[in-house]
Amino acid sequence: MDWASFLQSLANGILIAGLYAAVTLGLTLVLGVMGIVNFAHGELVMLGAYSTFWLFTLLGIDPMLSIPMSGLILFFIGLPIYRFTIRPILKDPPLNQLLLTLGISIFLQNLAMILWKADSRAVITSYSGMSLHLGMVHVGLTRLVTFLIAVTLTIFLVLFLYKARPGRAMRAVSENNTASWLIGINVQKTYLLAFGVASGLAGASGALVSTIMYTFPMVGFKLSLKAFCILILGGLGNIPGALFGSLILGLTESFVGTYAPEGSGWAEGISFMLIMVILIIKPTGLAGTRRE
Amino acid sequence: MENIFLLQVKKLTKHFGGLAAVQNVSFEISRGEIVSLIGPNGAGKTTIFNLISGVYAPDSGEILLDNENLVGRRPFEVCQKGIGRTFQIMQPFPHMTVLENVMTSGLFGRVPKVSMRQAKEETMELCQLVGLGDKQKAFSRNLTVADQKRIEIARALAVKPKLLLLDEVMSGLTPTETGEAIKLVRRLRENGTAIFLIEHVMKVVMGISDRVIVLHHGEKIAEGTSTEVANDPKVIQAYLGEHIDESEEASC
C-alpha cells in the first residue's frame, strides 16, 4: 500500500476541507439564525475573492493581509442586501426566498462578468509555489496557511456565538425568536448583524479562495453547490455539522482525485453526486433539520 | 357474506420516537352509526384518524374496511375505498373557489371516476346541502370559520364516502351553527353514511352519538352509549386529571 500517496491524499483532503468549511460557515449562520437558504452566498464569496485579487493587483496588498479587508468589505455589502432584499421576504414561503436569493446570485454573477470579464484570475505571490515537507507529505504553504486561517475563522465564530452578546442573541433568536423578542432582544438588528457577519465570513473565505483557486465570475456558483452538499451532509444550520460535512466532502474529493482513473475531473462532480444520492435516499439530508 | 361491521380496527399501535401515541386500540363501526371519539388533549384521537386515512402507517394492528385491509395503503387509495375526512386545522386550497375545492375531491376520490360535468353538478348540490349554495364562487380564504368548515365537510362528502371522519368540526361555532351542523350530521346518517367524530364539545357528543369511545394516553379506556361513558369512573378520572372545561362550550 502506497502510504505516501494515501497520506498525501489525506492531507490534501483535510486542507481543502478547511477552505470549504470557511465558505460554508456564513451560509450555516444565515440558515441557522433566520432559516433562509441564501443561494447568493457563493457570489459573496466570489466578490471576496475578487476584492482580494484587486487589492493585490492594484495596491499590492498581500492576500493574507487582505483577508480581514475583504471580510469587512463584504460585511458592508451584506448589510444593504439584507435590508432591501432579504428582510422583506423573511416571512415569505421558502420558494420565494429561493427565487429571490437565486436572483441576487444571477445578478452578481453577471455583474462580475460585465465588470471584470470571464477570464480566470490568479493571485500569485512570491510564496505561492512554496511547500513544506512533513514526512512523506508535501503541503503547499498557501494551502496550509489557508487551512489555519479557516480554522481560526471557525474558532472566532464559535467564540462570537457563545461569548459575545450579539452572538448569543443570534443563538437565542435561532432557537425561538418570539421568546427572544420577549426578553428584549432586537430580533431585526440581530438578523441584520447575522447577515452582515455571514457576508463578512464569505468575504474572508473568498480571500482564501483567491489564493488557492482561480478567481472567475462562476467560482461562487461552484462553491455554493459544495456548500449545499456540506449542509446536506452535516445537518442544516449547525456548525459542527458544517465541519463534519466539509471533512467528508474534502476527503472524498481528494481520494477520488488520487485513486479514481482521471480522478481530478470526477472529483469536481463529487458534490453534485453526493447531493443527489443523499437527498434521494434521505429527503431531509443526512442529519435532518438540526439548528444551532 | 357481508360483514356487519363497516370498519374494524384491531389492536392498532403507533409510536413516535419512543412515545406510544396509540396503544393497542380496537373498535368497530357499523353502517349508519354515529360514533364519537373523545378524550383529553393529546390522547391520540387525530392520530387514529391519520392511521385510518392512511396518512400514518401503524406499527402493528389491523384496519379493515368492509373486510378489506387498509394498512399499507396510501391516503388516496384509502379515500377511494370510501373514507372521507376533514382536517382539524382547515386547509382549503387557497387559490381555488369553494366550488373548485369540492369538485377536486369529487373528481378524484370516487371510483370509478365521474365526468367533469357530473362532478360539477354533484358539487353544486353538495354545496347547497352544507349551506354554501350562494358562496360557490368565493375564494375560501375570504370566508368565515364556519364556512370553511362547511368546505371541509363538503370536500369529504364529495367522495361519496361509506365512512366520514369529522375532526372537531363543531369547535368555534355559534349555537345556531352548531345546531345546523348537528342536523346535517343526522341527515348524512339517514343517507347511510357512517360517521366517526372527534369532538370536544360534550353537548354535541352526548346529543348525537350512538356510541362513544374514550381515548386516554393512546389507549381506549371506555366505550358505550353516551350515558354509560359519562358515568364511567375511569372517564371522569381521565378528564379531571386534565382541564377540559375550557374546551366545552368553547364556541362563544
Binding site: 437558504v37 422583506p88 421576504i89 415569505d92 414561503p93 421558502p94 420558494l95 420565494n96 429561493l98 427565487l99 429571490l100 437565486l102 436572483g103 441576487i104 446570485s105 444571477i106 445578478f107 453577471n110 455583474l111 462580475a112 462578468m113 460585465i114 470571464a118 465570475p217 453547490l225 449545499f228 482521471e262 475531473g265 470526477w266 469536481e268 462532480g269 458534490s271 453534485f272 453526486m273 447531493i275 443527489m276 437527498l279 434521494i280 429527503p283 439530508g285 | 392512511g54 396518512v55 396510501r74 388516496f76 384509502v78 379515500c79 375526512r85 386547509q91 386550497f93 387557497p94 387559490h95 381555488m96 377536486t104 373528481l107 378524484f108 370516487r110 367533469m116 362532478a119 370536500r155 367522495v159
Partner: protein, 295 residues
C-alpha cells in the same frame, strides 16, 4: 403567423425562432411548476435532448427532426426516473437536486469524451440546409403543440390535480389524488418539450458544448420567463418570454457577456414587488382602473 417569414429579414426571423424556442422552454417549465416542483435544472433535460439529436446525427445520420424527437423521448425517460427518485423532496431540496442533476451531467459529459465529444463539443450541419423559414415553421408547430397541451391540461381534471398537489400535497392525497402519478406526469410532459427544444437547438445552432447546454443559464432562463410573465397561466410564459428576449437582445448588443444580469434583477423585482408576475399586475392593478373609468 404563417406569412411572417416572408415579411421579415433574416435577423428578425432568427430572433423569432429563438424567442419561440424560449417560449417552449418557459411553458414546459410552467407545466412542471404547476405541481409545485420548481426545477432549477431544466438544462439537464435540454442538454440530453441536444446531445441525443446531435450524437445520433453524428453516428448514424439520423435526420434532424427524428433526432429531436429522439431527444425529447430520451429526456422524458430520464425525467420519469428523476421524477420518481425526487418525489419526496420538497421546495428547496428539489431545486438543489435539480441543479446538482444538471451539473452532474455536465461533469459526466466532460469526462467521457469518447462517447460525448467532451469539452470539444459536437457539430452538426445547418438545419434544413440553413433554410430559416423551415426552421421557423417547425418551431412554430411545436410551440403550438405546447400551448395546446397546456390548454388541455387547464381545461381537464388535470388542472385540479396539479393545483391541489401544488397547494397542499398531503390534503390532495387524502382527497383521492395520487401525487406520484401526477407529479411524474407533469415532469414527463415538461421534459419531452424541453428535450425537443434541446434537440432543435443543437441542429439550429450547429454546435453544442456541455458548458452551454447543461449550463445554469438555460435553467435560469426557463424559470425567469414564466415567473416574470405570470405562473400557472398560458399567456404568462409567452408574455414573459417576449419581454425578456427583447431586453436580453438589447443587452446582448451592449455587453458581450453578462446580459443575463437582467434575469437576476427581474427575479428580485418580481419576488419583492409583483409575485404574480406581469399578468397578476395587470389583473390587480391595471384592469381595475378601466373598471373605474367606465363607472
Amino acid at each position: 403567423m404563417i406569412f411572417y417569414p416572408k415579411l421579415v429579414d433574416s435577423y428578425f426571423l432568427h430572433l423569432t425562432v429563438a424567442t419561440f424556442l424560449a417560449m417552449i422552454m418557459a411553458s414546459s417549465w410552467d407545466i412542471l411548476a404547476r405541481t409545485g416542483q420548481v426545477s432549477v435544472g431544466q438544462a439537464g433535460l435540454f442538454g440530453i435532448g441536444a446531445y441525443t439529436a446531435a450524437l445520433l446525427y453524428q453516428k448514424v445520420h439520423l435526420p434532424p427532426v427524428l433526432g429531436m424527437l429522439a431527444g425529447a423521448i430520451l429526456a422524458m425517460i430520464v425525467a420519469i426516473f428523476l421524477g420518481y427518485l425526487t418525489l419526496r423532496l420538497r421546495g428547496i431540496y428539489f431545486a438543489i437536486t435539480t441543479i446538482a442533476f444538471a451539473e452532474a451531467l455536465s461533469v459526466i459529459w466532460l469526462m467521457t469524451p469518447g462517447v460525448t465529444g467532451g469539452a470539444m463539443g459536437v457539430s452538426t450541419p445547418p438545419l434544413f440546409n440553413g433554410n430559416r423559414e423551415h426552421a421557423y415553421y417547425l418551431i412554430l408547430i411545436i410551440l403550438a403543440l405546447v400551448i395546446f397541451v397546456v390548454w388541455l391540461i387547464e381545461s381537464s381534471r388535470l388542472n385540479f390535480a396539479f393545483t391541489a398537489i401544488r397547494e397542499n400535497e398531503e390534503v390532495a392525497n387524502v382527497m383521492g389524488i395520487n401525487p406520484t402519478r401526477y407529479k411524474v406526469l407533469a415532469f414527463m410532459i415538461s421534459a419531452f418539450f424541453t428535450g425537443f427544444a434541446g434537440g432543435f437547438y443543437s441542429h439550429y445552432n450547429t454546435y453544442i458544448i456541455p458548458y452551454e447546454v447543461f449550463g445554469l443559464g438555460i435553467s435560469i432562463a426557463c424559470l425567469v420567463m414564466p415567473i416574470f410573465g405570470g405562473l400557472y397561466t398560458i399567456a404568462g410564459p409567452i408574455i414573459g418570454t417576449i419581454l425578456i428576449k427583447a431586453i436580453e437582445e438589447y443587452l446582448r448588443v451592449t455587453f458581450s457577456y453578462g446580459h443575463q444580469i437582467a434575469y437576476g434583477l427581474i427575479l428580485v423585482v418580481v419576488v419583492l414587488f409583483m409575485p404574480e408576475g406581469l399578468l397578476g399586475l395587470w389583473k390587480r392593478r391595471i384592469l381595475p382602473l378601466f373598471g373605474r373609468v367606465r363607472q
